[in-house]
């Protein structure tokens, strides 16, 4: 039994947005359409139409800023709370008098293990039975998984998927507040920059007990794209080329683009040598662990241990392997995706069908 008055949940989280774990930038001005739909939901609710909202995005998209704006619109009618906190004390929600409830990272209410859906089921029953409006954010991979397992979509009829940004939008976001010509874009050869469209690599195969090095042609689609582009637009400025490449490497993800931008910016110069996402070489179990982290954005080692269960896989060891391969970082017992590896992570996990 919890002691009454042990905390003051009703005043928390309303004004300042929660500290972003990735420490990245503010929401780009390109999710206005999505924000409008959130605002419509709040207005509709005040007029008697309740349609719970799910904001769905890949990690690092900046959805927390949408929630901050929703919270300021809800005013004293709203309660904003983080899914991780709710996981530790669900009664905050039951006791809260606010009519508009905003839950950041609601996917954290479930854990991929036997018994790991109980709290999520409790939350969904709560969402269905209450007359309150729920505005929630979800990791897109967790959303798709939980949609198949629990049928989340029924509880959140208004689903807002944050779109990827194009090169122009990323440029506008990153150069906002800077003067024309303030930055100089310096063309540099990318690391390992002697890239060729067609290169020969060697694959080692075991044939009748003997190791045989098999040379094979490897085509670099990135180089083909760049050559074609060069042919199309002979005179493309270093700045244009930089943002085109940034959009491609970040896959239009504003958080990843911001992270790579910070690496490239050496004021007042911007180095064009963006690193390619790392190549992923993991076995099935390591890939599964990466998928679990990807479906969450970040995860405590204890949570990871619960997911892996009492088998031979140690959460610490697995996380250390992923960290060694430059895919995650471990800080104070929390395993977090590295933004620069996100694109490779997603491609790898989809290829193995560990995320959908």
């Amino acid at each position: 039994m919890e002691a009454k008055g042990a905390e003051t949940p009703f005043s928390v989280d309303l004004n300042p947005p929660p500290q972003r774990r990735d420490g990245l930038f503010h929401m780009p001005p390109f999710f206005e359409e999505e924000m409008k739909r959130v605002e419509e939901s709040i207005e509709d609710y005040r007029e008697g139409i309740r349609r719970n909202v799910a904001i769905i995005s890949d990690p690092f998209y900046g959805e927390a800023d949408l929630m901050a704006r929703a919270a300021s619109m809800a005013g004293s009618d709203g309660l904003r709370i983080d899914g991780r906190r709710l996981r530790h004390d669900f009664r905050i929600l039951e006791r809260a008098p606010q009519r508009i409830v905003m839950v950041d990272e609601a996917h954290r209410l479930s854990l991929r293990r036997i018994g790991g859906f109980d709290l999520m089921n409790r939350f969904l029953s709560f969402v269905t039975s209450e007359e309150r409006l729920f505005i929630t954010t979800w990791n897109s991979f967790s959303w798709r998984y939980l949609e198949e397992v629990l049928g989340l979509g029924r509880h959140f009829p208004r689903q807002i998927i944050l779109p990827r940004l194009d090169a122009g939008q990323i440029r506008e976001m990153l150069l906002a507040g800077r003067r024309e010509g303030e930055l100089t874009f310096v063309e540099e050869e990318a690391p390992g920059g002697d890239s060729k469209v067609l290169d020969w690599r060697v694959s080692r195969r075991v044939v009748m007990g003997h190791n045989i090095d098999l040379p094979y042609p490897s085509v670099d689609p990135e180089m083909i794209r760049s050559r074609l582009k060069r042919n199309r637009k002979e005179k493309e400025s270093a700045e244009d080329a930089f943002f085109e490449r940034l959009a491609r490497i970040s896959d239009g993800n504003p958080g990843v683009a911001e992270h790579l931008w910070k690496e490239a910016l050496d004021y007042p110069e911007v180095r064009s040598s963006l690193r390619d996402p790392p190549t992923i070489d993991l076995d099935f179990d390591e890939s599964f662990v990466l998928g679990v982290v990807l479906s969450s954005g970040s995860l405590e080692l204890d949570e990871l241990s619960e997911v892996l269960g009492p088998v031979d896989l140690s959460a610490e060891m697995m996380a250390a392997i992923l960290e060694g391969k430059g895919l995650v970082s471990i800080d104070g017992g929390t395993v977090t995706l590295k933004p620069e590896a996100l694109k490779s992570d997603i491609e790898h996990e989809r290829r193995l069908r560990l995320v959908w």
């Binding site: 991929r112 036997i114 018994g115 198949e148 269960g309 193995l352 069908r353 560990l354």
Partner: protein
């Protein structure tokens, strides 16, 4: 005309073959064969050419099969799609080789082809009908695609992954890594169960048996969660998870019908779900069926 020459030579050859002593017989037979070949206009260089074409065709099929397999493993999500093309490629290569031999090497005219067909017909009728039935079966399999390389099939009492569809036979690898060779004729004439039909995912049925007095609803919930949280699971609206309960006199069967994300992990998936479900069953007080002892009256009671 070659057809007429053959008709004239054939009776002579057959009478030669029926003569007495073995050494003489062998010599005469080889003479008869060589004269028959000469009648067709086939000399030793032609035979070498034919053998060379067949060897090249064989090597080409091996290389193509190797490259397609290698590509399919690199592009994991296209694995079955690429492997599916291997039998077609083999058929095309051998077809081209035969066409080349008949057209360019032997340079058969229409009449010769008819005579050749007659020979083939006789050969099929007497000795090679099984072989031909197998080859025809192979062509039917390639065109009709009742299964493909990479599929898991059960046929003629055997279960395994199809690793090769040859012109004569299909090769399966059983779960205990035995190679099973089933003739193509048998593959098309027997009832065949294909577990995945070209998809990477495959339904796996997992049965757990619990004591009749255990909480069946809880067991169903646990089994469902064990299945959907497995690292090997694949779920979509077309590939749902189904949990079923069946009551038996002395036990209950809880069954999960669930899809594995890659059929290669079929048994790992089954093992993973079974282990984790049983760990959770025991924690929840759900017990396995008790061994029953029959008394002389026929009533059953749990064993001590």
């Amino acid at each position: 005309m070659m057809g007429e020459e053959m008709a004239a030579v054939a009776p002579e050859s057959s009478s030669n073959l029926s003569v007495s002593s073995p050494s003489e017989g062998v010599g005469e037979a080889s003479e008869a064969i060589s004269s028959a070949l000469q009648a067709f206009g086939i000399d030793s260089s032609t035979i070498v050419h034919v053998i060379l074409v067949l060897v090249l065709a064989y090597v080409a099929t091996r290389i193509v099969a190797f490259l397609l397999t290698w590509f399919s493993e690199r592009f994991h999500w296209l694995r079955l799609g690429i492997k599916m093309e291997i039998p077609l490629a083999k058929l095309a290569i051998y077809g081209f080789a035969v066409y080349h031999i008949l057209g360019s090497v032997f340079q058969l005219s229409t009449n010769q082809l008819i005579a050749f067909s007659g020979l083939i017909g006789a050969a099929v009728g007497f000795g090679l009908k099984d072989l031909v039935a197998e080859v025809v079966g192979g062509i039917v399999i390639v065109l009709d695609k009742p299964y493909q390389i990479g599929d898991k099939v059960r046929v003629d009492g055997h279960y395994g992954e199809v690793t090769d569809i040859g012109l004569r036979a299909t090769r399966l690898v059983s779960p205990d890594d035995s190679l099973i060779v089933v003739s193509n004729q048998r593959m098309i004439s027997q009832a065949l169960a294909n577990a995945n039909a070209g998809s990477l995912e495959m339904q796996v049925v997992i049965d757990l048996f619990i004591d009749s007095s255990s909480d069946a609803s809880r067991a169903m919930k646990i089994l469902r969660e064990a299945a959907v949280t497995s690292r090997y699971v694949y779920i979509s609206s077309k590939r749902p998870v189904t949990i079923l309960l069946k009551d038996r006199p002395f036990y209950r069967r809880v069954r999960a019908r669930v899809y594995v994300n890659d059929l290669r992990y079929e048994f790992e998936f089954e093992s993973d779900v079974t282990k984790r479900a049983w760990d959770a069953f025991l924690e929840a007080g759900i017990e396995p069926p008790k061994a029953m002892v029959m008394d002389p009256e026929g009533a059953a009671s749990p064993a001590a």
